[in-house]
Symmetry: C2
Subunit: 113 residues, 2 copies
DNA sequence: AAAACCACTTACCTTGGGGTGAGCGCTTAC
DNA sequence: GTAAGCGCTCACCCCAAGGTAAGTGGTTTT
């Protein structure tokens, strides 16, 4: 992912962490419980393996999620939310509530039209 | 702008309102005081006239800003934030603060490396 | 032996958001 | 009379995010 110049703007920095089509979806899922790669594929219909792997790597590098490889004959990898990742979810909360209100407005407009 | 399917997810709805490279910058500027088209050009270095006009139209349609044409010999158009637009700025606040924290982490990582 | 699950990687292609530069109709300054 | 400012629009181009499909190296099920 190309990063924006943040020049001390918190919002731009936050965008650098959350921009990526599936990142917030991934974060949400791993917040609920640890998830395996294939599980996430199924939970996020439409995501490609390439992009899923890619965004998981970036989120790990950004310390939003943790990647754990479990020993054993069959490969097992689990992704879970870090405390910092959870804090992002909370920060996004106010915006989500605003989004709900926005959605309602849009629906009202669609009604009239 | 192509809109995402929101399927009752507030965050996705919010993204539909704020995605656009200059929208949050525009919103911020018109929140401080009403701004004219040329003024915004200067305040947002790098924005092209095409995209500025485009995003202003979309934000007007989304009720985030108000467009007022003033009568007179020379063209004068002013853009200002609606109450709803101001409420978006507030909703983004928590995320911006999170972004600040993220930025600090990134800087620390860059130090070590 | 074949197919299917695991977690990926790699090469290739498509899409659309945004930049570039020119033009428009009008007015005011030099 | 010409340049510069106002607020735009239009045709064209670029590029990076993301999708597609195939492959990899292992194991387990049938």
């Amino acid at each position: 992912m190309k990063r924006l110049e943040t020049d001390e703007c918190g919002f731009a920095s936050a965008l650098n962490a959350i921009s990526g089509k599936w990142k917030m979806g991934i974060l949400w899922e791993v917040t609920l419980r640890p998830r395996r790669f294939g599980e996430l594929r199924r939970l996020l219909p439409g995501v490609s393996e390439k992009v899923l792997a890619q965004q998981l790597r970036e989120m790990e590098a950004d310390d939003l999620i943790r990647r754990e490889v479990f020993p054993g004959a069959v490969q097992k990898v689990e992704y879970s939310a870090t405390d910092f990742g959870r804090s992002l979810n909370e920060a996004v909360d106010a915006l989500s509530r605003w989004g709900k209100a926005f959605e309602k407005r849009q629906e009202r407009k669609a009604m009239v039209a």
